[in-house]
Symmetry: C2
Subunit: 484 residues, 2 copies
């Protein structure tokens, strides 16, 4: 099957908005308003037979009377009217649509029949569409925010495909909180015509997309998915979460997007064969995706850990060993070098437990020494405090001084993470970081996390998260090496 | 064995600080400074033979010359001097100490021998001590912060016991970020004399402590631990993380606190028999602890889910079913009642998928209807948006208006969480919440999380976290019911 051209979905120069409304409580109002508020640069044509002006725009009574053939039609009309609207789009020569309207296959047999008619009509007319029963598409690089919620995710390297608009919103909002942002976000809904694999294929060739997060409730065309996933995962990592693992989940999936969840073991096998990185929960999804944005891929499972906290070292060693890492024995010559810069009572093992009061420069030297071990393929550094060029950690108590101090803290954390990443580049081995931001308030903590994203960097909150992220890097690297 | 009196450790009226220093880079300076900065109200006696004044306090040249017998001695002197210091403490009649100094059993045989001598000396002298090789103790309710890091956790309901100072710091800092705080934090180090179970016993009777988080690398007296844990877990929940599950982790634990990790299966059995709630990672620990602060305990595993996002509903159903919850079928009469307040095309299943545009009052009504089902023991509500009495979700773009808007958003989120919790009280069934804070910036998100803690409330970020928290509530409730 020849792949349909999806670019009008993401780079529309003109958009018809069928079912635009003046009622501020309706999606036909909010979604249009957000498209305009988001700074869309193209032409917008609201369509509604009973209005003359909406949000300052001239309204057209039907698709036929539009002054041009728009690249894209957004459709928010009642379910029984959707089929006719698609026919009108086809007549006008419109090639792409987003059907936001719900009430089709997810409601049962009648809805399925209607949905199938819509698909056939579109297909015969050479039109593709997203949905139905979806939330829209965001394409931040060109300010095309066709979306329900009123926040605007900044442009960034992460793409999101999800059969749930809610999942899209949660993930894209998290990319924003972490100072990154999204390239394309697709709420794919029932996937009646366009499927997950169509979007994957498009994103594989999308230069703005570096990592793809994908939430799926059920596959429509497993064979094609495998072919596409195999191709795309050679170019960029695909992180995937599949719902409907349990009976309760599968039942919920049917009533949500009419998705048939299928056997979990089959999905597991599909992931192994295609290089797709599977995650087990939404919590892990972003953590895993962020790991791929900055770090070189490790060449094996030999792991070095340097920690400023003994307990964190033990927890990280446990978490990594459980995931199949080899927490390597350090060679004698490296231990001798470490002896020169660490106090006499350091633990002489891996994890290297930095002794309190280690000078900042020695912290980086210790990390570099461990990275130089040939058996070390990847590094973990835990608890940033001894890596911060901060002078004093005594936070002042009066508010103004505190604010300046918070800014300084943000600066030195970003600087430290940059220093570690420079070592990662120098040795071409990943360094994954986890740390609390000691002495920071809740506001300062949020600022630091956000600022790190501006440097394309991430520091996990807890060692377990860092371990899972590192595991994803290794799995992807192993897949690429064994499937050239 | 009669339990030693630990109150001088947590409620000292006077503290000797042996090894106090004027060098701002040393722990003997920093720890003392933080005690003073933290607002300690008792008398403080720095001890150092070579100084006359430290941080404005008169310095004593030895313990013998102190003007009174202090309740507590903090000991930060080099390892070879510790034994003599304990002897001096005993001579002076001091009953409690905190040995911060490292370099004992964790270094091997010589260190173990010295450590054992110290223990015997103290024991014969009727003295107890924390450590050695530890970070100190924080007792925020009475502003007794004997600690290394320069942040002050506010007083609150959560106690932390951990063999790692770093773990104590990370957890207590997180309680602060979440707007809660800690009752007592104990970095227990090598646990040479006082063990985890001694602190547990004390906290069991501590009225300021409602939940205990405990990180352990290895048990010293398993039998006594079981006895104490059984008693305490009847009074308040104990959440526990044990390190050293893998060889790499166990090796790291030995070099950290000389702890012998033991068999993981044994620990699992211990937890089952004592009602201790086991968590698998530091990430889960706080989430689990927070669940116990506000919610009533569920009487079974029947679960109702109401969600404003279909995908979140599917994920929650999966996560909960995997943990052994029964996502119940709703009875016909409740479905008929829901029909009256939800649009015709709602999914008529559990999870109840609120259809976009549901009025706020109907959101709460829907939750209440599901709670009324006799088969529902516990509730989960996902995605707060339709529960917020916000008017409009369109955030203004200019900075001042945005700030006011952010405050309003914080207010309505707190209000919504309060409304849900009132329902929990009314029906005596827990409601666990998970939601993104739609439209919020990273700063606003931090503020909301913090403000919720001020109302003794929590809203998890992702459905998986909420599912684990709910599972902990059920497990604890099951334990209490079967062991009267």
């Amino acid at each position: 099957m020849k792949l349909p051209d999806l670019s009008p979905l993401f780079n529309a120069r003109s958009v018809a908005f069928v079912g635009a409304s003046n009622d501020p409580g309706k999606w036909g109002f909010l979604t249009l308003k957000h498209l305009l508020d988001g700074g869309f640069q193209g032409r917008v044509y609201p369509v509604n037979p009973r209005e003359s002006e909406i949000l300052g725009l001239k309204v057209y009574r039907d698709i036929a009377t539009l002054p041009e053939t728009p690249d894209l039609a957004v459709i928010i009309v009642p379910p029984p009217v959707v089929l006719g609207t698609i026919k009108d789009c086809v007549s006008k020569g419109i090639k792409a649509g987003i059907i936001i309207t719900a009430g089709f296959a997810e409601l049962g047999r009648e809805g399925s029949k209607l949905q199938q008619e819509i698909v056939e009509t579109a297909r015969q007319g050479g039109m593709v569409f997203v949905g139905p029963n979806c939330n829209g598409i965001m394409s931040p690089w060109n300010k095309q925010h066709i979306q329900f919620p009123a926040f605007f995710v900044p442009p960034g390297p992460i793409a999101v495909i999800a059969q749930s608009g809610n999942v899209v919103d949660a993930l894209s909002l998290q990319t924003k909180m972490h100072g990154f942002g999204c390239s394309r976000c697709i709420a794919s809904g029932n996937e009646a015509l366009l499927h997950c694999e169509d979007y994957l294929d498009y994103l594989g060739n999308d230069p703005g997309t570096r990592v793809i997060l994908c939430y799926i409730e059920g596959f429509k065309d497993g064979e094609r998915f495998m072919k596409v996933a195999r191709e795309v995962s050679r170019k960029k990592p695909i992180i995937m979460l599949k719902a409907g693992k349990t009976q309760a989940g599968a039942r919920a999936a049917v009533s949500h997007t009419a998705a048939v969840a299928g056997e979990d073991a089959v999905f597991e096998a599909v992931c192994k064969q295609t290089g797709v990185i599977r995650v087990k929960s939404l919590d892990e999804m972003l953590d895993t995706g962020l790991a791929f944005l900055r770090q070189p891929l490790p060449q094996g499972r030999g792991l070095g850990i340097v920690t400023a906290g003994g307990g964190w070292g033990v927890l990280a060693a446990d978490a990594c060993a459980e995931l199949g890492f080899d927490v390597v024995q350090l060679p004698e010559d490296i231990i001798r070098e470490l002896d020169k810069i660490l106090p006499a009572w350091w633990n002489r093992g891996n994890p290297v437990d930095l002794v309190a009061g280690t000078a900042v420069d020695n912290t980086y030297k210790a990390v570099e020494l461990v990275m130089q071990c040939p058996s070390v393929d990847a590094m973990m550094f835990l608890s940033l405090m001894p890596a911060l060029r901060m002078g004093s950690f005594d936070a002042p108590h009066d508010e103004q001084a505190r604010e300046a101090w918070g800014k300084k803290m943000t600066e030195v954390v970003v600087q430290a993470v940059d220093e570690f990443n420079a070592l990662a580049d120098k040795y071409n081995k990943p360094i994954v970081l986890a740390s609390e931001y000691m002495c920071a308030t809740h506001r300062e903590q949020a600022e630091i996390t956000f600022a790190l994203g501006g440097h394309n960097a991430v520091c996990y909150r807890m060692p377990g998260q860092a371990a899972r992220a590192l595991d994803a890097l290794v799995k992807y690297s192993e897949y690429l090496r064994k499937s050239p």
